[in-house]
């Protein structure tokens, strides 16, 4: 327990020190990586612990981003817009979850339905290029995307809003990431989290023990949707821009790949996976989108065929086998 707390303290201190040693460009890039970590976390919460594979995290991310944009442009209060982003995504998750979990749709069908919702959102938002598709002052803009989304600012009553330039934004996102990671870890350890793990292991048995499986699945799905929506809102505020690309097939695939690389069911793994994949793609990123799509596809196939438990856990297991183990001291025979 103390070792875990020490690790937490070291991680938080390291995170806090990073902007002091990195260039501004790296700070900005790291900020968006942390936003992606939140998105990966949202998938691991539902897939790693609830055992429910959702291809719709990109949809919640996108809906959160668009809601942030609409609310931010219309009210100018970005804290409110961030809440709007999380709430909009949670509402979509609640609707989808009600119809699927209470309809007792199987896990496969659920995954396919979340995927189709994402794809159809892509087309619907893409078809809003006409200026008449506007909510208040916010034009949806079709495939060109929504522009002029306000940056995140700290709005205290009775003071002019304080715009978060890169370094404070970095700290704000880092604080959110740490807070949500801690909340997620607490949720997983709670009574609710244990029942959730039971559902993952054997849904029918859990139900026969008297737990309402549908309701619990719905709750964790809504929470996960809210986290993804929050990440989407942060993303829109980070770049002042969002377009239907967030609903694309490759974006949905990325979220799953992050969690598969890091290994599911640990929360930390999802974060490590998102960081690793994003660093790698931004170093290889000079190549075109087409190469990225081929590479992403092949990575997915290879991981599924060779490392079904996740890339990092697989590599670690292999390393553990290969490394000479310190031989435990044998008790001397008397």
């Amino acid at each position: 327990m103390t070792a875990a707390r020490l690790a937490w303290a070291v991680a938080v201190l390291a995170l806090a020190a990073l902007p002091l040693v990195l260039s501004l460009f790296q700070v900005v890039r790291l900020t968006v990586f942390m936003i992606f970590c939140l998105l990966a976390l949202s998938l691991d919460l539902i897939w790693g612990f609830g055992g429910i594979l959702s291809f719709g995290q990109a949809a919640f991310f996108g809906v959160g981003g668009y809601a942030y944009g609409v609310a931010g442009i219309n009210t100018g209060v970005t804290a409110l817009a961030l809440v709007a982003g999380a709430v909009a995504a949670a509402v979509l998750a609640a609707l989808l979850g009600y119809f699927t979990f209470y309809g007792r749709v199987g896990a496969m069908y659920f995954a396919v339905i979340t995927l189709t919702v994402t794809l159809i959102l892509h087309q619907v938002i893409g078809s809003t290029a006409d200026p008449r598709y506007a909510i208040g002052a916010a034009r949806l803009g079709g495939y060109n995307g929504m522009t002029n989304i306000p940056s995140l600012a700290l709005e205290l009553p009775g003071r002019p809003p304080l715009l978060l330039d890169p370094v404070p934004l970095f700290y704000a996102v880092a604080a959110l990431l740490v807070a949500i990671l801690a909340a997620g870890a607490a949720l997983v350890r709670s009574r609710f989290g244990r029942v959730l793990a039971a559902i993952r292991e054997d849904e029918q048995r859990t139900e026969l023990l008297g737990y309402d499986v549908r309701w619990r699945k719905l709750v964790v799905f809504v929470l996960s949707g809210a986290v993804a929506g929050l990440a989407g809102g942060l993303f829109a505020g980070w770049g002042n821009f969002i377009n239907p690309q967030v609903f694309s097939l490759s974006q949905s695939a990325l979220v799953v790949i992050w969690v598969m690389v890091g290994g599911r069911g640990t929360l930390y793994g999802a974060i490590a996976g998102a960081f690793a994949v994003q660093f790698l793609t931004s170093y290889l990123g000079a190549a075109s989108v087409t190469y990225t799509s081929v590479a992403l596809g092949l990575i997915l196939i290879v991981i599924v065929l060779l490392f079904p438990r996740g890339l990092l856990p697989g590599v670690l297991a292999v390393a553990r086998l290969l490394l000479p183990r310190p031989s435990p001291a044998l008790p001397e025979e008397s």
Binding site: L53, A107, L119, T290, I301
Partner: protein, 286 residues
Amino acid sequence: MDLVAVTAFGILYAIATLVLLALGLAVIFGMMGVINLAQAEFLMLGAYTVLVVTARGASVWVGIAVAPLVVGLVGVLIERTIIRFLYGRMLDTMLATWGLSLALVGAVTLAFGPTTEGIATPLGHFTIGRYSIAQYQVFVMAMALGSLALTWGLFNYTRFGLVARATMQNAGMVAGLGVNPARVYMGTFAFGAALAGLGGAVMAPLTGVVPTLGLAFIAKIFITVIVGGPVILLGTTTAGTVLGLVESLVSYASTPIYGQVAMLAFAIVLLRLLPQGISGFWRRGV
């Protein structure tokens, strides 16, 4: 009067395309239980086969005849290299075929470029009153009926169909009777792929050929097969009829985009009421 006839024709046509495109998936997903997210890319490969064949100077009809063979072969290749390791692991199959879908779109984009290529629509027009309708649309309907009949006949009246249905129910028993189940899986997967190749090829002159062609269809065909439920052919046809009707009616009233949204929303509500799909309560069979 003419308007009614033309609208009815349009609705029938929408249903026929849905059935034609979803049939391959109904075999692979409905029968084998393999969720193949690369199914829409099989459609796309079928369309590209027609493009390549017509670019060599042959007619569209030759392309449509060749496409099922080409895509069927691709199906064999994919089944041998990827799918066969993943039978029984549905989520893993889904992830791997998703990767395959991304890789195929990327590879075709590298080979042919990202632009939409047109193929001239063969056949002329006929008229209903003041309205002119492409004869090719009638051909599409005929192909939908034809491939439906072919699939039904294959699985109900041939030895291969009998063995395939038995294998899907109890592979161990079939192996005990001296048939290699791995071969049957391969053959069924290839047949599903070939059907998709045919569907994509038939639709190619109407939709244009582009690497992301599958994206427009994948949501539709999966919804159709899921709503169809366990009785695959009749279920898929019924679901195609209901969903095609919803889609085309809403499309006529507003835009095709809202037609798709209405179709998806309708399907999700329907699954809340009939979780097993439309044919969930019917007597089981193909």
